[in-house]
């Protein structure tokens, strides 16, 4: 088990390294021109571009810039030259091209927002989706099953930027029966946090619940037809014990997989959800940084998202062994 985890972690680190190289390279290979962006929609005179490029450290070869960026994460670094240099202690993710603020500070502000969205919506989607899926598997062909299939289809075809805007327009601005989506730190105003997060949670939760419902139903149906379930029934166990203890547990592994990947993806920023609901999380930050050619923030958000996805992949793999005794990690 330990050896497996160490091996997986090493692979994870290499993956992150590759992602960082690719992102850095893509940024310069693509159509980014940070200095010109800062000049706005006018041809900037070369001298000003030069000055901005110098102040951003963009004049050096790409590999040097990359090296600086990466070593800053581990050892910290000084950004700029001479008396005006900014001290950026490890883990240094650079400073924003636009505002000169340390990227780590910016990320720290966005992370609680993204985490709130991720955890809240994941809980709703799992509870709702898994119960719906199981219930419909147990009552196969019944009205609940039909509803569940319909729900899963609708949920899978709707998009957050459609449903989210629609719900906001109708519930928040027209009927005025739902609180406006906003983020307040739970430590400052817990009820305000709950109420401000509720619409994004419900929207994202319900939409992702559809996936869970589909998987849970399919998996349950398959397991229910297996021999060990029949044996359990034959032994005279109550239907409850058969369904929950035997069948559900066996079908959990696929649900855990989706859950882990979903949570990992969301923690790194739900770009569309955050943009739709105007939540200042990592996702919205990333979208803006891409538009602004703000390389340090692009790097940081991409690496963060990748980190969470990789991390949860490892966790999910490790969880298999716990959930399913047939799985051995090696």
């Amino acid at each position: 088990m330990l050896r497996y985890l160490i091996k997986r972690s090493l692979i994870a680190v290499i993956t992150l390294l590759m992602i960082s190289i690719t992102t850095f390279w893509l940024f310069f290979a693509g159509s980014a021109n940070p200095a010109a962006q800062m000049c706005g929609a006018k041809a900037c005179d070369a001298a000003k571009i030069e000055r901005i490029n110098k102040s951003l450290g963009l004049k050096d070869p790409i590999h040097e810039q990359y090296g600086r960026f990466m070593s800053g994460i581990f050892t910290g670094r000084e950004i700029g030259e001479g008396a005006d240099a900014i001290k950026c202690p490890a883990p240094c993710l650079g400073v924003s091209f636009r505002t000169s603020e340390p990227v780590l500070d910016i990320i720290e502000r966005g992370l609680p927002v993204s985490a709130s969205i991720a955890v809240g919506s994941a809980v709703i989607s799992v509870l709702l989706g898994v119960s719906l899926g199981i219930a419909s598997a147990l009552k196969r062909g019944g009205w609940l099953d039909k509803f569940s299939i319909g729900f899963a289809l609708t949920g899978a075809s709707l998009q957050i930027f459609f449903l989210g805007l629609l719900l906001q327009m109708v519930l928040v601005y027209q009927l005025k029966i739902w609180d406006r989506p906003r983020y307040v730190p739970p430590s400052e105003d817990f009820l305000g946090w709950l109420s401000g997060m509720s619409l994004p949670w419900v929207t994202l939760g319900v939409l992702s619940a559809a996936t869970y419902a589909r998987f849970a139903r399919a998996e349950m149906l398959e397991i229910l037809s297996e021999d060990f379930v029949r044996t359990a029934r034959a032994k005279g166990l109550t239907p409850r014990a058969v369904n929950i203890k035997h069948a559900l547990r066996a079908s959990l592994s696929s649900i855990v997989t989706i859950f882990g990947l979903q949570l990992g993806g969301l923690l790194g920023g739900a770009a569309i959800t955050e943009t739709t609901f105007d939540m200042p999380g990592i996702g919205k930050l990333a979208v803006k940084a891409v538009g602004d050619d703000n390389l340090p923030i692009v790097m940081a958000t991409v690496l963060l998202a990748a980190f969470f996805v990789v991390l949860f992949n490892v966790i999910v793999d490790a969880m298999y062994a716990v959930i399913d005794p047939r799985v051995k990690l090696s």
Partner: protein, 583 residues
Amino acid sequence: MRHRVRALAISALAISLAAAGCSKTTNSDNKGEGADSNKKAIVVDKEGKTPVPAPEVEGARKGGQLLILQDGDFEHLSPQQIYVGDAINYGTGLFHRTLTAYKEPVKQGDAIEVVGDLATNAGVTTDGGKTWKFTLRDGIKFEDGSPITAKDVVFGLGLSYGKFGVQGPQYLQAAADPKREYQGPTVDKGKPVPGVKAEGDKTVVITLEKPEQAVPYWLTYPISTPVQESKFNNEKYETEFQSSGPYKIKEYKRDSHLILDRNPNWDPKTDPIRHQYPDTVKFDFSVNRQNQTQRVMASTGEDAAAIAVSDVAQENLATVAADPELEKRVIQGATPYANYINMNYDRIKDVDVRRALVFMYDKSAAIKNAGGNKVAVPSTTLMAPVVPGYKKYDAYPMGESGDVAKAKQLMTGKKVEKLTYCFVNTTNGQKAAAIVKASFERDNVFQVALKPIDRKDYYTTIGKKGNDCDLVGSGWGQDWPDGESTLGVLFDGTLIKDEGNNNYSYFNEPSINAELKKLREMTDREAAAKAYGELDEKIMKEFVPVIPTTYTRHYSLIGTKVGGAFLSPLYSQVNVTRIFVKA
């Protein structure tokens, strides 16, 4: 001045209503936006006659919270780094005072006044513009109570030369230090700031090698906001700046909100422009354009005293325009932004071909594409309507979708090679290109080849002399209210260099160059303004280097309880110097 880049909007509901603007596009929208020919085009208060304190606003009351809904935080509030229009508007209106300032007209079309702000007047020159002297008012203080001295102004100006001003405007610095050797007071400690010095506590003197009439205008940028050396803490000053205006920071949480409260050390008796009516001003930085519109339309709770920074969202334009109650709360009018299609003067040499192209362009399609006649109106001039001296004329009268017959007539017996239209390869650029191609190829009068250019290289490519673009789209907003900042930048052939040009038509006519030189050097800017208006018409009538396409308009909402709001013609934002919250 930089135009704030509109944030990427994900809007599924925008599709159907976007076409709303197609119903009616008339010139009537333009009324009141052009300057009346009998009025002064611009007022420069050299004698310091502007009254202090600023006269009370009728019906204003003290108290309440003004809420400003904005999509994203300001990039910079450290004064010398500010260059984006909304940061200048809110920054100078609320907390950053400057040596000189604009007193913007409440009634659209009235003259903009250049007045002394921290200084007693708009600046005095006795040698034709080489030396400018500014005397500070008595009783001006920072928020901590310490008096503002000439030394603080010079320190602030010094910052604008170095790293802590690199993103701000660079006009004064380029004129005072052409080689740009000085790196600001944090690096070149103790060295004198080029061209800027304090004489005693009260006088700031600017000395340039060549006369520059624009100095009083350049100093309205917050490059001239005073900064105390002892309080300047590099990047941290962005969120910990010392206010010199009526409001100061109470709480600033980046990307979330900024709350301002009254600055007790601001004395209205020293300020010819600003007031201090609301108790607090709160910026909420996490409201995108759609939500700004929705919230201010509803105008309930604290939103009743809210200002939307962005224009009305496109999907709501039709609703707002059709509802008289809502339209009363719209702040709208002309902005400094005018759009053109540049015709390369070296490549399209026949003036009648250029005239024919003017007749071919379909302005109504461009307006529809921009979002309708609330946000764009057809243009006929080079200078935008807010430029002092703007003269409303139409050298080539035609319908809004052009006049193909006239164009054909001009093209009789002429043969023109396929024209290349260069555009930035973005969604908007592609839409604009489609309009250009469809317009010019009507009845096969012209053939157009479209040449997309990567965003990264766009301005480098079209700014390079001798490029192979026949036609290029561009927009322009003046950097200071003077014809020089439009005509003098875009149409002076003597400024053409190998790279980095703004004169995308590469227009170069000796007679116009000479006239521009004469106007640039005129010390009386009020008189110069009218001459720029005439010159604008002359260029379009005789030479036609560009096709004027549209003027961009401002169209934003304020809540039911906001009083004293009016459109800033310079920054295309709600001017907040007279703002109050109704009971």
